[in-house]
């Protein structure tokens, strides 16, 4: 199972993520988003912050979670790669996310992801213990 794949969209970019649990699904979606921003192989997970988000349902939670991570990247300069979901319910998510500040010498920023949109957002259990999520980003 691939953790995520990129969907073609005329102006923007879509992402499909997979996971055996919802926790893995949310972590893989985050990983997919950061892989759009930068090549992650040179990113080390030595700085950790806690992230908490609320939502109306899993879809809302997913969009809000990804936008919160984008904020950490753009405002605080963190490239994130490790996502440990500590608590996840329909309306609440708490995670410890790790990465490191952007270092121009070692990291290349490939593109700006302006935001994660609600367009065609999906979080679904496609088989027992197989979850699939889909989002589109404004690039």
């Amino acid at each position: 199972m691939k953790p995520f794949e990129i969907l073609d969209h005329t102006a923007d970019v879509g992402l499909v993520a997979w996971g055996e649990t919802l926790e893995a699904l949310f972590a893989n979606a985050a990983m997919g988003m950061f892989s759009l921003i930068s090549e992650l192989k040179n990113v080390e997970c030595h700085t950790t912050v806690t992230v908490e988000v609320k939502g109306n349902d899993y879809e809302d939670l997913l969009v809000t979670w990804l936008n919160e991570l984008l904020y950490l990247f753009e405002a605080e300069g963190y490239l994130l790669k490790c996502f440990e979901i500590e608590e996840l319910g329909q309306y609440y998510l708490r995670a410890r996310v790790s990465g490191e500040p952007v270092d121009q010498e070692r990291h290349t920023i490939q593109r700006v992801v302006k935001a994660c949109t609600y367009y065609e957002v999906k979080v679904e259990e496609v088989h027992p213990q197989l979850f699939r999520a889909q989002v589109y980003f404004d690039i």
Binding site: V13, Y71, G77, Q110, R111, V112
Partner: protein
């Protein structure tokens, strides 16, 4: 690949295609796409027409849900979408109808220089511009602004920069809304948006944003060109950028608020990205006040960049910007929601007009048009893709009647970024453009490849549609000489 759209497009005339109300349950008005017959083939290749139908479901929408010929698949609204809602009849405002890059727009700057005078200096000028104007992913502004300055910029827009010496006093007259939308309230802007925006004032950004040096190659309407101060062979500078991370965060925050508000107001929309609230509700008002802050941030941003353009030309040509005739022709927003008065079925109404990848194109006599242009209509600035050139159009009376004074905004993508990347693999885009007589400097090679000319519709086709349909008129076409990309 995207799914093909197979819904109904009824031909009204050669340039107008209607999506009837019966197509989809919940459509309150019909949809209309301005396009040539040939274009409808490519428009059907993705879900953009479905998005036109979805927008027709917004509470309070009047007239039609419209799409300009540069229509392409977006999220929520299609890019190229225009929708107006009746404010007094519970009409909504939708952050998705503006987009994340609030007041992404175009400024066109004139000079009194000709191609012959500029060409020998281009190789020197482009790197100077590149040095003076921060661009690219994660670029930081050259000037650091305090929180109180940032708030002033949100209220006063371009004027804030002009007062600080970054511009000529008359610049503000030649900016849509005079570079400062009313109703901006920095107190409703989140700390996150402030944090994300503070380092980005005075930066070009990346993606499809650019600065271009171009030359007027063709004059279609000499009388109008004269009023706009344009002549054949004249060198112009076009700046395309917006409100950067600040606007992105304002939109992100508002979308979240609107998800909750919709339940409260019993609003149902076919796509969550169309989340909205009545314009006059607290949520609607709060978004409008924050959006206006972001719009003003963008005008302040383009003003600061204009100042650096002047400085760069002064450095290379060893003359003052005044002597070089470096003046603002006009500055337009193409991602914005505005409160405007328009006639609907014979009655004057206060509308909230959303333009998402669409440009205001007011005709003659409207008080919003600068005095110098008021007798003929406003200049409309249409950038092409990198290397293809751009147009200056004129707003028309027919646009006032039919599209709430709106027209296209650019070429419009036809190729996804990954497709563009595949198509351009192994090619040297900088060299290719150089052979076509266009000098390019870019922060990122990847951006250049994603933005190759083939990824876009032909801007000439797009402009032909709005001209033939009568919602704008061609004034001049300008060919690119040099492009700076993020």
């Amino acid at each position: 690949m995207a799914e093909v759209w197979s819904g109904p497009l009824r031909k009204l005339d050669n340039w107008r295609w209607v999506i009837p109300r019966e197509y989809k349950k919940g459509m309150l008005v019909e949809g209309i796409i301005y396009a040539s017959e040939r274009m409808t083939q490519s428009i059907r290749k993705d879900q953009a027409p479905e998005q036109v139908a979805n927008v027709a479901c917004l509470p309070g929408i009047v007239g039609r849900s419209m799409a300009m010929p540069d229509i392409h698949w977006g999220y929520g609204f299609p890019i190229g979408g225009v929708a107006a809602t009746d404010i007094e009849a519970g009409g909504v405002i939708s952050p998705g109808g503006v987009g994340f890059d609030i007041n992404c727009g175009v400024r066109l700057i004139k000079t009194n220089l000709t191609e012959e005078e500029v060409k020998p200096h281009l190789e020197k000028l482009l790197p100077v511009l590149f040095r003076n104007i921060p661009s690219g992913v994660g670029s930081e502004g050259r000037i650091s602004f305090s929180v109180s300055d940032l708030k002033k910029a949100m209220r006063e827009g371009a004027r804030f920069m002009i007062k600080r010496g970054f511009g000529f006093p008359e610049d503000e007259e030649y900016i849509e809304e005079r570079g400062a939308m009313e109703g901006a309230d920095p107190e409703v802007v989140s700390a996150k948006a402030m944090e994300r925006g503070k380092g980005q004032l005075g930066t070009l950004g990346s993606g499809n944003h650019f600065l271009e040096i171009e030359v007027v190659e063709r004059v279609f309407r000499p009388d109008i060109a004269e009023i706009f101060g344009l002549f054949s062979g004249q060198v112009l500078i076009m700046v395309h950028t917006g409100s950067r991370g600040f606007g992105h965060q304002v939109c992100t925050d508002a979308l979240q608020t609107m998800q909750n508000a919709m339940n409260r107001y019993g609003i149902k929309v076919p796509d969550r990205q169309l989340a909205c609230a009545p314009f006059q509700s607290p949520e609607g008002q709060e978004y409008f006040a924050a959006m206006a802050c972001a719009a003003n941030f963008a005008w302040a941003n383009r003003q600061l960049i204009t100042h650096w353009v002047r400085e760069s030309f002064e450095e290379v040509f060893k003359k003052s910007a005044r002597d070089l005739g470096i003046e603002v022709l006009y500055d337009v927003a193409h991602n914005i929601a505005k409160v405007e008065e328009h006639e609907v079925e014979g009655k004057k109404k206060k509308l909230c007009v959303h333009r998402k990848g669409a440009t205001r194109a007011f005709g003659a006599k409207r008080p919003e048009v600068p005095g110098r242009y008021r007798s003929v209509g406003q200049p409309v600035l249409i950038p092409g893709d990198m290397g293809t050139g751009s147009y200056v159009l004129l707003g028309t009376e027919l646009a006032m009647q039919e599209t709430f004074g709106s027209t296209c905004h650019g070429a419009g993508r036809v190729m996804s970024r990954s497709e563009a990347d595949r198509t351009s693999r192994g090619r040297n885009i900088t060299e290719e453009l150089k052979e076509k007589g266009v000098l390019v400097m870019a922060e990122s090679k990847a951006t250049l490849r994603e933005e190759i000319p083939e990824a876009y519709k032909d801007v000439n086709d797009v402009v032909q549609v709005v001209e033939e349909a009568g919602i704008s008129k061609r004034v001049v076409y300008a060919r690119p000489l040099a492009v700076m990309k993020g």
